[in-house]
Every structure is written in C-alpha cells, then in structure tokens.
C-alpha cells in the first residue's frame, strides 16, 4: 500500500515538468520509444512472445496485430491525433464554459495524474492508453489486465530508455480487479480514471467512481456487404477472414455479424474455408469450457434448422463456426470464433436495426457496395456509428480513433487546467 501511495505521489511530483514539455519533445520522445518496439528483437517481438505464452494465442497473430498498432502510431499520426483532440477539447470546453474565452489550443493540459484501467481482450492496449495520457501531459498509472500483464511494463521500459522524462511519468500498478480497498485508495489519489473492460467491470467501477472518469466498452462490430461480393477474388475472402480472426475475435472491432446481399449460405460457404486457412496460420487459443459451451448452445438451432431457413458450417477441427440465416437481426453469437451471416434487409429495416443497437455498435465494415447500395450506405451514415470503414480494414483503426464515439484524449484535455 505504501509503495502504491508513494508511486502515485511520485507521479504527481513529476507531472508539472511533464506539463511544460514542448510538443516536439513530447512527440519525438514517444516516437523514439515506439521505435524500440518496432526494431528487430524489440518490444513488439518480446510482447508477442510473452502474450502468446500467457494467453495461449498465436504469436504470429499477436505480432501482426502489434505491428499494425505500431504502424498506426507513426510520428505523423501522433501529431494529427493531438491536433484533432485539441480541436475537440476546444469544442467540449466551449460547451462547458460558454462564458469564458477558450485558452489557446496548445495550452490544453490533462489532469495531473490519470489512472488507465486496461481491458485484456485486445493485446497491448497499454500502448495507446499510455500515449493518450502522455499526449495530454498527464502522468499515468497503468493497471494491467489479467490477460495482458507485461505490455504495460514494456511500455514504461521503452520510455525509460528512449525518453526518461516521459518514463518517469508512467507507473505500472497491479492489483486484483474489484479489490475495493485498493481501488478506493488508488482512485481517490488520482485526478481522473479511464477504464475499458466488460460490463461487470465497468458497472463495478461506476458504482465507486463519481465524476472525473471515462469508461469504454463493451461494444461489437458488424459488416454489411453489397451484391458484388459474388465476384470477389480469393484475396478478398482472405482479408475479411483475417479481420474476423485477429485477436481471436475478442476485440470490439471484430466483426460478429455480416449482413449480406444475395445468398447468405453461399457467402458463408466462401467465408468458412477462408477462416479455416487463417486458423492454420494463427491457431486460436483454446476456449474455456464456458466459451465452448456457449458456442455449442449457439450452434444448435442452426444445426437443426431447415435448409431454407439457416445452417451451420463447422470444420472438423471446430475452430470456427459460421452460421447463416435469412432472418436479419442483431442476435450475436458468443465472441469465441462464431460468425453469423444473415440476409441484408431493406434499407429502411437495416437502418432501424442499426439504430436499435446504436449504443452498442463500435464499427460497421462496408464492402462491395455499388450504386444500387447507396440507400443502405446512407442509412448507416444516419445512424451515427463511431467507425464506418471498409470491412477489410475494420480492425486497423488510426491512432486516437474515437472508440465508443468519443476522443479520450480530448476528454482529458478538456478536464485538466490549461497551462498558465
């Protein structure tokens, strides 16, 4: 307890120096640290190896995901992230303090000390979460997820080596999630809490943290594919399957339902072998008994369905399940390697369907839309989903993307006192 308290005090002590760093010092420092991740034998390699051992996932898959994450966080991307967030913070402050003139954007600063409680479904969330806080010039305490115990420490280590002034502003503290005594102490000592995780985690935290907080999750993603998919080359099926297979389908950007024009069964029969091919390259982790049981239960009605209504494609290794039906809805399978392919309804029905689940949707991946699909596309736009992108890039978000429809960095910048 004493160490934890002392750690937060240390963060508070270094925070003023962090606040006065120039943009250039901050951004190049972060970039130097991320170079240590990108380098051969660097932290990305170590993290992938470590995560593969800890989570039982494919090291190759983890490395692919980490490389994508790092590529998205180039120096240029970090610069844009900060600039965009400042503009958004300006809007937030203008709404909150309509009577007072806004400060210069580059004087925005986040709260002195921020706690980032990290989810474990996607690997290395510590990297964007840590960068987010540091871009706000907030010292940050990272709380690792059970499923990802080492990347927060790697992140701090990379900063300590490449940009010590930033490394000093990062601490990693472990405790068992839900330990109310520890969490009361930590959350009482920091100025802002950001958390991502599942429903029970966030419900539990929201009961104990009032104000000065921002939570993300849980959300899901879907795809919508126009009629032209019937002429899609094999590469396209591979790319769609890759986006589903990444992170073993546990991310909030992992597509779970695909609404397709034409014949869902034919689509499913094309997708299933593509998923099997990815399983051969990225063997998925072993499911828990609970997850496996959920999959068996979800499959059953599809296995029993009349052929005209739906069906189920399960390869011999049972790695991925692709079910298909003709009854469009937002009914999901468990996030344990189950994809549902369903018929795309009329534009009006599709829009209504998305609107009914808007609060829970993270992204819609679109593909093979032609001029005849314009009405569906407009419907998606009107609903207001946080991320609308090509299906084949749905799991490749840019740095600082608005998860849950909000900029975490802008929230931090708007929550702290501007630099005098």
């Amino acid at each position: 307890v004493t160490d934890r308290r002392a750690g937060i005090t240390r963060l508070r002590n270094v925070a003023p120096a962090l606040r006065s760093l120039s943009d250039d010092e901050l951004l190049t420092g972060l970039d130097r640290a991320l170079d240590l991740w990108r380098a051969p034998g660097g932290y990305a390699e170590r993290a992938a190896r470590d995560l593969a051992l800890h989570r039982g996932q494919s090291e190759t898959m983890l490395r692919f995901g980490l490389d994508r994450l790092l590529a998205a966080h180039s120096l240029v991307a970090l610069t844009s992230w900060l600039a965009d967030a400042r503009a958004e913070a300006g809007r937030i402050r203008a709404l909150r303090h309509a009577q007072s003139p806004p400060p210069e954007f580059d004087r925005f600063r986040g709260p002195l000390v921020v706690a980032q409680v990290l989810a474990g479904n996607v690997a290395a969330l510590a990297v964007p979460a840590g960068i987010e806080a540091l871009l706000a010039r907030s010292a940050v305490l990272l709380k690792p997820a059970e499923g990802d115990p080492s990347t927060p420490a790697f992140f701090k280590e990379s900063l300590d080596r490449a940009a010590p002034a930033l490394g000093e502003a990062v601490a990693v503290e472990r405790w068992k999630g839900g330990d109310t005594a520890v969490e009361a102490e930590v959350f009482g000592a920091v100025d802002f809490v950001m958390a991502s995780g599942d429903r029970s985690t966030l419900d539990s935290l929201s009961r104990r943290i009032e104000g000065s907080r921002s939570f993300r999750g849980p959300r899901v993603s879907i795809g919508m594919v126009g009629m032209d998919w019937m002429h899609a080359p094999a590469e396209w099926w591979g790319e769609v399957a890759r986006e589903i297979a990444l992170w073993d389908q546990e991310g909030c950007l992992s597509p779970r339902i695909l609404f397709v024009a034409g014949d869902p069964e034919r689509f499913a029969r094309n997708l299933a072998p593509a998923l099997a091919a990815w399983h051969a390259r990225w063997p998925a982790r072993r499911r828990t008994a609970q997850e496996a049981s959920s999959v068996h239960a979800f499959r059953a009605p599809y296995e029993m369905a009349k052929p005209a209504h739906g069906g189920c494609i399960v390869p011999e290794d049972l790695a991925w399940t692709v079910v298909w039906d003709q009854a469009p809805s937002l009914i999901l399978g468990p996030p344990a390697r189950v994809v549902r392919v369903t018929l795309r309804p009329s534009p009006r029905e599709f829009e209504a369907l998305l609107a009914s689940g808007r609060e829970s949707l993270q992204a819609v991946g679109l593909d093979h839309l032609g001029p005849a699909d314009l009405d569906w596309r407009r419907g998606v736009d009107r609903v207001g989903i946080p991320r609308i992108v090509p299906l084949t890039r749905i799991q490749d978000p840019p740095a600082g993307w608005w998860a849950d429809g909000k900029s975490g960095l802008a929230e931090l910048l708007a929550a702290g006192d501007p630099l005098e």
Binding site: N121, V220, H296, A297, P301, S360, Q362
Partner: protein
C-alpha cells in the same frame, strides 16, 4: 400442459424402439444397453426432423452405427429453440398435444428462453424415476415421513422436479408427510414445528429440497438459534444445486451445516442430479452404501440408472475424455426415447469409477472484453 383427452401413444401404438426402451427400463437384465440405445437412436433419427438435421450437418447420414458412443449429442440449450419430439401422430388424430411439457427454470436466460421438454406420454418417465429413488433413498424401508421444501405439481405444473416430488409423495411417503414450500416461499415456522414434532415422536424423516431451498431453511434455523438432532435414520435428498444463482455454496459446507443444524450425517445426505431435458435422475450412492455396509470413501459421485450412461467430453472438440479428466457432461438417457436421448449439458465434471463427479457449471459466461450479450444489444 395438455388437456387430458385425445389420442396419445399408448401400449398399442408405441413404436418398437419406445416399447423396447420401456421394457429395458422396467427390467434391465433382459436386454443390452448398447442394442437398445442404437435402436432408440435410429428411431429418433427417423422421426425427429430437427435432430436428424443436426446429425446430418455433423456428417452422419446413416443411423446404423456400430456403437452408441457415436450418437451425436444435442446441447441442452437446443430444447429452447426447437420442439425435439420423435412423436409424429398420424393425420386425423384427435390431438397432437403432448401429455406433458416440462419447462426449464429459465433462470439464466429469462422466461422467454425456457427450454421445453415435450413428452407425448409419461410412461417412460414414470418407469424411470421410481426404482432409482427407492434404491438410493429407501434402501432400508418401504416408506418414510417426508417434509418437502420443493413445491408439488399443483404449484409448479411445468416443473419436472415438482412432478417427480408429487409422485414420490404419492408412492413412498408415510402419513403426516407434507410440502412446506409454496408460491409464497418457505413456511419457516411450519418447518421448525415439523422438525420439533419428528424429534418428539422419534420418527425418521426425509427432507427433500433444492440446494437453494435447503440453504434458506438452514439460514432460518440458524437465524432463529435453532438446532435439531433429527431421529436416527433421517435423511436428506437435495437437488438442483445453485445453477445461475447469485449465491453459491460449496457442497462440503452444505454437508457440514446439515450435520450441525439438523444432526444428519453426510452418509444420509443423497444428492440428486437431474435436468428438465432428461427423464432419468442420477443419485449419490452414499446412503445405499452406508446401509449395505460398503462405503467406498471415494469422492461424492453420481451414478446413473442402468438405462443411462454419462460421457465426459472435451469442451472444445467434443471428443470423449478418459476417467479423471474434466470436461462437459453428456448423458445418454433411454427414458428420453420420445425426444432426444443424447444430451450435452453445460455441467462440468469427470468420470470416476461407476459414476461422475460434478464440479460446476459452464454457465454462459459474461463475454470478454469489449463484447456483448445479445440481450444488451437488443435492449431498448
């Protein structure tokens, strides 16, 4: 529940597979489990279209198998989405209604997600419950005074457990037996009074309850500072566990409380394992072994009646696991001849000697990370 009229399968109209299953349940020495199971499966494959489709999608197109162990299991959750009956009444029948539809409690998925086990007739069910109960609960007597903390079928007509309790009371209870739990819950005062009476009369009693019901009863005794030493020969049948409930108690702790608050030793506590989707029950042989003087000292196991078998399957691959390895329990219950006999549960356990040890339940866990249950996505 169906009206009590109309044409239903009966002795003269049962298919041969059902006749054979019923005969096997009544006298298991006359046939071989393997042979009956294969005939029952062939019947179900031919007469239960949803099940047949499931088998075919799993690559099984011919029901003529070499061993019952190749019979595809249906997840218990399938009873929520399809009417899994192998009964196809002829055109022009006065009724196509089953004699009884048992519903699952629906605790984890809400009322609308309740599974339905529709039985065209109850002959197999009736034949299946009695002998295992007698064997495991009454190995030393014909009848016993019963106090039930499980409501009867008059209160819960769609509960298979309540149906069985009503039959138990009819068939094996001594005068003075009664049900102490109704729609309003446990009548704690009546429960205490009844216990005091049996102590005073020195009459052995059988307490029937679900794990949760027994826990509530023990709590009420403890809160009232009451303890009993029930007459020798008293016993407990507890069932149901704590599926999907917020409160869970370790079996060992419950056994310790039975001893402490009721004076009933663990040798006289018999666990029953059953589920709405099955027609047979599995029992811990503790009391029988005690009476017969053959206690094994092994972990508490559940044993199947001769017309049922249990397998433990790898949750991921559904391949069978060897004794001692933990996986999902799957039961082959020939008393389910009218519906589907091979049922994959969400229960976790391992095979041990003649039975299985129940370790817990693979409840549909909350989905990990940024994920979401269907209900959440569809909420208003």
């Amino acid at each position: 529940m169906a009206a009590d009229h109309g044409i239903r399968p009966g002795p003269g109209s049962r298919p041969p597979a059902v006749v054979r299953a019923l005969s096997f349940i009544r006298d298991s020495r006359r046939d071989r489990f393997e042979d009956v199971a294969l005939e029952v499966f062939a019947f179900q494959f031919g007469h239960n279209p949803p099940y047949r489709r499931l088998c075919e999608r799993r690559g099984l197109r011919d029901p003529d198998l070499d061993t019952w162990e190749l019979i595809p299991f249906v997840p218990a959750a399938a009873f929520q989405s399809a009417l899994l009956t192998s009964w196809s009444p002829e055109r022009g029948s006065a009724t196509t209604e089953p004699e009884r539809v048992f519903l699952t409690s629906g605790t984890s998925r809400g009322q609308e997600g309740r599974g339905r086990h529709a039985l065209p007739e109850l002959a197999l069910y009736r034949a299946a419950w009695e002998e295992p109960f007698r064997r495991h609960l009454l190995p030393d007597r014909e009848r016993i005074l019963m106090l039930s903390l499980i409501p009867g079928e008059d209160v819960l007509p769609q509960s298979s457990l309540s149906y069985m309790v009503s039959r138990i009371l009819e068939r094996f209870s001594a005068p003075g037996s009664r049900v102490l739990l109704d729609r309003q819950g446990l009548d704690a005062a009546s429960f205490e009074r009844s216990l005091a009476e049996v102590v005073e009369r020195r009459e052995a009693v059988l307490l029937l309850g679900t794990g949760l019901g027994m826990l509530a009863a023990l709590d009420s005794l403890e809160n009232g500072g009451r303890r009993f030493r029930l007459p020798e020969g008293s016993r407990i049948l507890d069932t149901g566990g704590f599926k999907g409930r917020a409160r869970e108690v370790r079996r060992e702790d419950l056994l310790a409380r039975y001893a402490e608050l009721l004076g009933i030793p663990r040798t006289h506590v018999v666990g029953e394992y059953g589920m709405t989707e099955l027609s047979s029950q599995f029992y811990e042989p503790t009391l029988r072994e005690h009476v017969e003087g053959t206690p094994t000292g092994e972990p508490r196991i559940y044993v199947a009646p001769p017309w049922a078998r249990t397998r433990v399957l790898d949750p991921e691959t559904l391949r069978p696991l060897p004794p001692g390895a933990t996986g999902l329990l799957a039961h082959m219950d020939l008393a389910n001849a009218w519906t589907v006999s091979a049922v994959l549960t969400e229960d976790i356990g391992f095979l041990h000697h003649e039975g299985f040890v129940l370790e817990g339940r693979a409840r549909a866990a909350e989905l990990r990370g940024c994920s979401l249950a269907t209900e959440e996505l569809l909420r208003d």
